[in-house]
Symmetry: C2
Subunit: 396 residues, 2 copies
Amino acid sequence: MKKHKLPKGFLANGIHCGVKKKRKDLSLIYSEVPCKIAVLFTRNVVKAAPVILAEKQLEKNKKIRAVVINSGNANCMTGTRGLKDAKKMVHTMAGILGVGKNEVLVSSTGIIGEYMNMSPVINGMKRLAKGLSGEGIEDAADGIMTTHRFRKMVSRTFTAGGKKIQMTGIAKGAGMIKPNMATMLGYIMTDADISKKAIKNTLIHTTDHSFNAITVDGDMSTNDTVVLLANGEAGNRRIGEKGKDYEIFLKNLKAVSVELSKMIVRDGEGASKVIEVNVKGAKTPKDAKKTAEAIAGSLLVKCAVLGGDPNWGRIASSAGSSGVKFNPDKMEIILDGIVFFKRGKAHKSFNRKKISVFKDKKVKILVDLHQGKCTATVFSCDISKKYITLNSYYTT
Amino acid sequence: MKKHKLPKGFLANGIHCGVKKKRKDLSLIYSEVPCKIAVLFTRNVVKAAPVILAEKQLEKNKKIRAVVINSGNANCMTGTRGLKDAKKMVHTMAGILGVGKNEVLVSSTGIIGEYMNMSPVINGMKRLAKGLSGEGIEDAADGIMTTHRFRKMVSRTFTAGGKKIQMTGIAKGAGMIKPNMATMLGYIMTDADISKKAIKNTLIHTTDHSFNAITVDGDMSTNDTVVLLANGEAGNRRIGEKGKDYEIFLKNLKAVSVELSKMIVRDGEGASKVIEVNVKGAKTPKDAKKTAEAIAGSLLVKCAVLGGDPNWGRIASSAGSSGVKFNPDKMEIILDGIVFFKRGKAHKSFNRKKISVFKDKKVKILVDLHQGKCTATVFSCDISKKYITLNSYYTT
């Protein structure tokens, strides 16, 4: 099988170092030249040590060379020792790679409140760096997974600024996902040459419609990080803050981010169906998103989807509890293309027990508030007994 | 077995009229004299017809004589026909009881989006009124239940204003409960004589610490209603807006409300344990409540409690995602009396797999933010596979 190639100038690797029992647990993304970077971190007040450290590093240094990521331990609520451990990871990796100490970022994911088992991580770093390759992204994608069922990786090529540009992203999700990137790690690499402002703006914009538009269980994590790295090796005319090239870049970044986000939802712990919640006709974009989030996050709605029950009353109720003002009589509720409520009335005298909805792997909930022109889409998944098992009887 | 008696001047009854297959589905609370009333309704934008109607009635009329409640159908998202049905219930009941049309309120609970099956309700009303009795509160309590496992009823007597006063409350909950009274019905009757302002203030205050301080699944309903009725038949010196009598009344109302709220949580669909979340050391009461709600509402925390897993990282993470600012290093986390995190460190080198917590039917989560002096308590319950079954494969 043909191996997946990284954008020009990027190398990657993933290994099993020993934080976890068997699965890969240490990954490295490396660029042969300094990268421009845009990062979005968790908004949780409780931030993991690597997040605190990375925020500091990025105050001083705007270009980076490498990101090292361990899974199996979140290095969170670990106080000064945790911060020291994160620094040691950075310094050791920088030393091995021969780059500056602020040119390496570290991310962690896994259990909260336990100190890092540092020796396997430190000992594994040489082997990790040695195995770097332009075809190593699959191994890196595997090294950031926890309870996942499949690897999350998306690649696109497009032309902008007169050159062919590649963009490749990997992500980690499953469980504990909700808007605001809960336990979400995402790394997107591109060889595009792009301005500082444009890289930042495009990441903020696309994350709002992708990594921040998904929910698995409503919990928000302490380690969430989305990184966009651009090393300029494609040699294109620099992409600025507007114009056609900017739009092309934005469109492709959005496609990669949305695709990765959908994969995260599809791999929600114990999930069997992806739910696409579309809200139309809201007064403001914020109203649209808030309504969509309330529906997508409702446990009763998730249960209805699992059971194939067109219980649209739950959808109306969750929309109504979002805090957004609207006239319920104007609301329209369409499930998998079937109109259930319109103009103040349940549509015809459906015997809803006989109507089949939510049967496919992908289901659609469309709510039109008929209050304005704004829309939002949020992706979610159903909840199953397996979710309960996974999260009750194992410390994850 | 001795039957439970109502406060002086109150009568009640509950019957099976035929909205549901077998269980009681129609209840009536009646006072021989007009009652002062305080009511709190759902804050959901989608309000059921009886809620919309009652809000209008109470604009005109401040005293009422009766409340009629049906279970099995929420009469919500039923448009003008739903409103007409609710009015017909009020008018018919008022006619039978021989009281004014605005002296009867109606409440409904059950499925959303289906028209009321009116004939059994209307036909049952005469029988309902005929059976009114000073010992009928247990039947009334049964008539408002849906998927409940046990009847929720609390009674207290106390002395205020020189007389013995009784206070008796019934409630309906189970599933779909979160702060702001989701699918919560509560009716508290007292024979106290109390001022208009005092009855309102005491209900607002106590609801904030009881019916609005519980969460089962984070969903908020369209029909929530908490009613406090006072008919003055105890003949006490009128309770005013402050003073000793006010405090005594408040204390007892709080006790009744908290007890009913705990019963609701204990009867959460599929729940096996009641979780008491105490937050201390917050800067403001709002911060304290918001933090407690975030912890109590976290699906991952509920799973941890179900599995008996002292996964305090999830508690830290959910507190941190509440939007409240605090210093995580100062946070203290105590589960069932055992300190797990203090002064920036996991307490000692616990092997947490060997520590037994969350084993009892009542479990305690205490979080001290060490940022101030404000506290809050929120009650919740664990989540189980039974919850998923109850809400996936049956339209409830």
